[in-house]
Amino acid sequence: MITGTPKPIEEILQMLEPYDTIILAGCYGCVTVCRVGGEKEVEILASTIRLAREASGRKIAIREVCLERQCDPEYIETMRPYVEDYQAVLSIACGAGIQFLAEKYMLTPLLPGINTGFLGVTERQGEWAERCQGCGDCVLHLTGGICPVTRCAKSLFHGPCGGSSKGICEVGKDVPCGWQMIIDRLKSLNQMDNYSKLKPYKGWNTSRDGGPRRIVREDMI
């Protein structure tokens, strides 16, 4: 899922300073699962903003909505009948959803209520960790299901490097060495021969080096 963290309330209140009527838009997708932008978070943030503004002597009217997904046009369209009745939209979807709203509603200022994080997993309740950087050329079949691009701090393709000590990466004592994990996993799978199948270098042309990416599926159009 796409993860994120709430923006500090002070930053949100500052963004909202020019406005007295807003829509606060959540998303039932990834941000609901990582507890940062779903229906419940919409209610909490709306209450917080209303309380803060009323205590400061200037009320704000908030319409609370939660879209099925802010990254699909059909759900964004459900806001069209009323979006121009409000001065701004504060979205707590991921950066993709917020931008898509901004594209569809050109006359309404869009404000981000969260900081979008990474593609990750729920390791346990309340704890998420990065697993994928969307490089566009997956090699997980060769690396025991552990991504060298994400799990190695240097995104090496020929680790472990000299910064690995007792299975720990030099960037932090809580960061396992991705390449040590890969080697251990390949050994346990009896697939160490995969180590020599890895490319000596990685082509990043499928990653972000060519600018924003696009997928076109002719069979789906």
Binding site: P8, I9, E10, L13, E43, I44, S47, T48, R50, L51, A52, E54, A55, S56, G57
Partner: protein, 101 residues
């Protein structure tokens, strides 16, 4: 919890089971963690973290419940009306009145 303040409460008590004795195992610990978040929000927006507190007791402790309520109500009385109620009273130009817990 925040809705209670929006609805005019000057203080909010959250009652949980005794720690280690919750039917939902760690439900009361999670409630305490959620309350800590709300406390931080209240502090940040100027309402004050001291206006919300969690108490732990069993369903059979009526006298203890009453003591907790009296204790917290007295504390909130000392704090006075919440900034929300002050703003509302000023807006409505009515004198500061009864404290609500």
């Amino acid at each position: 919890m925040l809705k209670a303040f929006e609805n005019g409460a000057d203080g909010v008590m959250v009652m949980g089971c005794l720690e280690g004795n919750c039917h939902f195992v760690n439900g009361n610990f999670r409630a305490r963690a959620r309350l800590a978040r709300v406390s931080r929000i209240l502090e940040t927006i100027g309402i004050g973290a001291e206006r919300i507190r969690m108490f732990n007791l069993s369903a059979g402790e009526g006298a203890r419940f009453a003591a907790f309520v009296s204790e917290f109500a007295a504390e909130v009385q000392q704090l006075g009306p919440s900034p929300i109620n002050v703003a509302r009273q000023e807006a409505a130009k009515i004198p500061t009145g009864e404290i609500r817990v």
